[in-house]
């Protein structure tokens, strides 16, 4: 929810671009020399903790206890990783997280693009009122309704079931608004009109015209949704049992041992973060584009 609310900010809180911009403040070339040290500092600060995770995760507990601590990765990662799989059912956690994040992403893309299409291109009674409701839901602290949600899941018999994690976040207000804006600008009305002349139903228009046009937006929304679902913690912690965890829940179990075994805990953290880092390395450019531009225009 926190993430969703924050992302909402990029939809609602951004002024329309006023010029063609282009970026870069005015200055002499010699400033280049003073700019890059700052940039490198930012880069170091933001990547050091990640680097540190892999460093600690590949050391022995004895090496980590030294002063100064070891600053280069060691050769103990596989041994620590094996201990992770021995301590908690990490394989199951990885599979569960894949199922959860995959299902949420698929349903979010389908439902949000459908609703976005209807809000952007189909006239119907109550459209603007319903759209306003969608906007308001983005500000709703849904996360704070966990107690009744838990009671609800018990009544449905879904407690401790992955469905309890998947279904409540299967569609988001942010996604609907995001898709509505993208559909409004990327799908020309003329094309839809031509489709109608050809006898397409609205479903035909959605399937054959809207979906192909939405592909870039879907990539961005899909990536954001997948990462958020993978990283979600509080609700899975409440509703799932430690025997059937997601990755984040399994990590918290690892950290709840008798004493803090940092090489073990950070090896688990590294394993649970790797998939997301992989996704980020492959598609990070698109995600950044989505944050900076995709969600803006409207």
């Amino acid at each position: 929810m926190t993430d969703a609310a924050r992302r909402a900010s990029s939809v609602l809180g951004r002024p329309r671009p006023r010029g063609d911009g282009g970026g870069g403040t005015a200055g002499q070339p010699r400033r280049l020399l003073t700019r890059y040290p700052f940039l490198v500092l930012i880069l170091v600060l933001s990547s050091f903790p990640i680097y540190w995770t892999f460093t600690i995760a590949s050391q022995t507990n004895e090496a980590v206890a030294q002063t100064p601590p070891p600053f280069l990765p060691g050769g103990n990662f596989l041994a620590n990783a094996r201990r992770v799989f021995d301590t908690v059912d990490f394989a199951k956690a990885l599979v569960n997280s894949l199922i959860v994040a995959g299902s949420i992403t698929a349903s979010t893309l389908l439902f949000c693009s459908m609703a976005g299409f209807a809000f952007a291109k189909l006239p119907f009674r109550g459209r603007s009122a319903l759209l306003l409701i969608v906007l308001v839901t983005m500000m709703c602290p849904v996360q704070l309704g966990v107690i009744p949600l838990y009671i609800e899941m018990q009544a449905l018999g879904w407690a401790q079931n992955l469905l309890a994690v998947i279904v409540p976040t299967a569609v988001t207000g942010f996604g609907v608004v995001f898709m509505r804006q993208y559909t409004a600008q990327a799908v020309p009305d003329e094309l839809l009109e031509a489709g109608r002349m050809d006898g397409c139903t609205s479903w035909g228009l959605y399937w054959h015209i809207v979906i192909p046009a939405l592909r870039p937006a879907m990539a961005v929304l899909g990536l954001l949704t997948f990462m958020q679902a993978w990283n979600d913690f509080m609700w899975p912690l409440i509703v799932l049992s430690p025997q059937n965890p997601t990755v984040q829940v399994a990590l918290s179990t690892l950290a709840a041992g008798q004493y803090m075994d940092y090489t073990l805990v950070l090896a688990g953290t590294a394993l649970g973060t790797l998939p997301i880092l992989l996704v980020f390395a492959l598609f990070g450019r698109r995600i950044i584009g989505g944050i900076m531009e995709g969600a803006v225009k409207g």
Partner: protein
């Protein structure tokens, strides 16, 4: 694609309706399609939101008026405002309120200031733009659980980098988890680290919409790069800043994972041995899911929900004022 689709659909209508009624059926279908299907497209969102968003929030209000217990579902009695009366005199609750508000400020203010500075620096990058942008977003794709565990090690008393660095300049080892200000500061560092880059990218997006001539005019007037940030970028970004501030404040009201996992004794839900960094959400979790007092926990939730709405309304008002003011300057 469209042309190819048409015969298929007609073929599937024909067997059921016969060739002559196909035209009527098509017109009927089209009318039904036009009036009904928009609602079908938006229905999944609304159904799911009502079932798993709106209903729980409202039902929280009812549960908060009962003594419902985690272990005896259905056995609750209506007790009116008793939970709220008890909260008013519960010093653990007020401690959580204090910590939540303190952390809200400690996390949000530095985060947004740093994000502005970072965005300004990023805006000057000519080469390797994508690398730098991905770099600042890296913390944000890391899960909060991972962030807390990593920083738990970095801030650990005996083996942590922070204490080692402090030791180099002659400061004694600090037991970060044990103190109240040290614990809250460490948590604030985690939040700031995870969110600064994200906000910086939002600001950067808005900065790129500022016409370059504005910067050039300021540079002609002798404004250095930091004065350009202050006089050119800041006024243009005002609505964006107001909104990110609001969203960040609301996000920090729900701080949960950091105080839960930063605790020195693993598995504890009190936010430190002396509850020095227990937030309202963590207090709600402790009462509801550790002690089983769902009714009492729901009262905490409901107060948090009200506080959030109040903040959101306030922020909306401020953002609108900010937008108006920004609109007035040419």
């Amino acid at each position: 694609m469209i042309a190819r689709r048409r015969p298929d659909r007609a073929a599937h209508l024909r067997p059921a309706l016969g060739p002559r009624s196909a035209g009527v059926a098509r017109r009927l279908l089209r009318r039904v399609d036009g009036s009904v299907s928009p609602y079908i497209y938006v229905a999944p969102f609304f159904l799911l939101f009502i079932a798993f968003g709106l209903f729980p929030i409202l039902y929280t209000g009812y549960v908060s008026l009962t003594d419902r217990d985690l272990l005896s579902p259905g056995g609750e009695t209506y007790i009116g405002l008793a939970n709220y009366r008890e909260l008013l005199t519960d010093r653990y609750f007020w401690n959580a309120v204090k910590n939540t508000l303190l952390l809200m400020v400690m996390c949000s203010v530095p985060q947004l200031v740093l994000a502005l500075i970072a965005a300004h620096i990023l805006n000057q990058a000519v080469r390797l733009r994508t690398l730098f942008r991905m770099g600042v977003l890296l913390p944000n794709v890391t899960s909060i659980v991972a962030v807390t565990l990593i920083f738990g090690q970095i801030f650990s008393r005996d083996f942590g980098v922070v204490n080692w660095l402090l030791g180099l300049v002659g400061v004694d080892r600090i037991n970060w988890q044990a103190g109240d200000w040290t614990g809250r500061s460490a948590i604030a560092v985690m939040v700031i680290w995870r969110w600064t880059g994200y906000n910086a990218l939002i600001y950067l997006g808005a900065m790129q919409a500022i016409p370059k001539e504005h910067y050039e005019a300021a540079a002609m007037d002798g404004a250095g790069t930091w004065r350009q940030l202050w006089h050119v970028a800041l006024p243009a970004l005002r609505p964006t800043i107001a909104f990110t501030a609001l969203v960040s404040l609301i996000g920090q009201m729900q701080l949960f994972t950091e105080p839960l996992l930063f605790d020195a004794s693993p598995g504890s839900v009190t936010g430190g041995a002396a509850r020095q960094f227990q937030t309202m959400t963590l207090f709600m979790y402790e009462e509801s899911f550790r002690l089983g007092h769902l009714g009492y926990g729901a009262a905490v939730s409901w107060l948090l929900i009200l506080m959030t709405f109040f903040l959101a309304a306030l922020g909306y008002f401020i953002a609108r004022r900010g937008a108006q003011m920004a609109g007035r300057t040419p």
